[in-house]
Amino acid sequence: MNETYDLRFGESHIEVHKFHAGTILLSLLIAVVLQSFLPVYISKAGILDLPLLITIYFGLSRRNPSTGLLLGTVIGLLQDSLSKTPLGLFGISKTIIGYLASSIGARLDTEHPAARFALTAAFFVLHQGIVILIQKLLLAQPQPWFTMRLLIACLVNATLGVFLYYFLDRLRKT
């Protein structure tokens, strides 16, 4: 099996990246564990959403919507299991983000740090929007649409995403 291959849309060539065995599973588990572990020692780390960053990265890299959405589902449900939220809240939102990231990744070159920053910020806002929408519509839990914390979290996660993606790029098969 080829380790990388090209998707062709018109004249553009977009490379689909493969990873070493277990990389995705291990990254997923580390992200979920760190998400629930870091804030104990660094209270400000609660602002991070590492499972979301992992969903976005592998969605953009693998560029397969089915894989992306299923990865989002698994990460989201794991995150739900370790939270007080009903199962499905993060599951649904990360499923949609995984699908969209994979779909966009298949159409755009998302290797440039600026593009990654913008996409991560946009996906973060969208993810938060979906979570709040589900909380309002399905769970009858009123939540504010916008807070200063959300804006800061968006910028912090997008910045961290650029560095994290750079590190995860090293784990690709060459």
Binding site: S36, L70, S81, P86, L139
Partner: protein, 315 residues
Amino acid sequence: MVGLPSRHRSLFLLIGVVLLQVLLLAVQIKRDSQGRLIRVWTVSAVSPVQRSGSWGVGKIRDAWRHYFALSDTARQNEQLIRENGALKLEIMQLEGKSAEADRLAALLNFKQKQAKVPMVVARVIGSSADPNSNVIYLDQGQRDGIRKNMGVITPEGVVGKVIESYRDTSQVLVLTDRDSGVGAMIANSRIQSPVGGTGEPLLNMKYVGNDDEVAVGSRVVTSGMDRIFPKDLPVGVITQVKPGGQYKQIRVKPSANLEKLEEVIVLLTTDPVVMKQEPAPQADNSSVPPGSASPKTAPQSTSAATNAKPMDKRP
């Protein structure tokens, strides 16, 4: 899926997976179930890693403090000597104030009473994977006698309540969480009102009427109305009071340092803890013990504190 055009397969898969999860949400709401089995599996899988991580971090921190971070020790020693001198002076001043002594006596009395309540000390090993909620995991669970709805405190004040108990782990909803709340009252005026989390570091005191006198700096203590926490445990200090539409907008700074919790005390009883009532010391109005003054209760707060599930407002 076989008959579908390949480019639409993923879209149909997306719709299917999302619908399944909406159904899962609906089932949980309808049956008031929280998918306990899946949670037990996940927590069982993750908590050993958290436990090991906590142990590892503790070891690394100890090693750093005891072997590598000694370069500042001499400077810290000098600083501690200076601080010690200043503290001795402060203690002498404090000893001259009978009101302060009364307050300390009341606190000591309260601690002695609290010692009768069965409790266990637990270590914080993790927090919520949801950035928007304030939930922590403890390293003790059902095997140590911890059950759902037990109160969690530190010597400084109220922390929250147990919302889920597993075999070796338990999940605690911290007071600052949006869904959290505790039956409380202002220590000097005895005005009762629930105090709840806002998702921010400060808490919110909800149902104090605009006509009631509330001063910044007043202490807020548990009222005991929620039947989880004993009366007169410190909740926080009022830091801001603003007139609101029907009720005052009161912000309360938690007494316990909820952002840096490492060890907590779990009150091992879900029965209401009844404290022995004693007469109040006369010197300090701000620390009037239970039973010394007739409680002035905001009408809405009484019903809110007694009828609602005080620490959990989830539907």
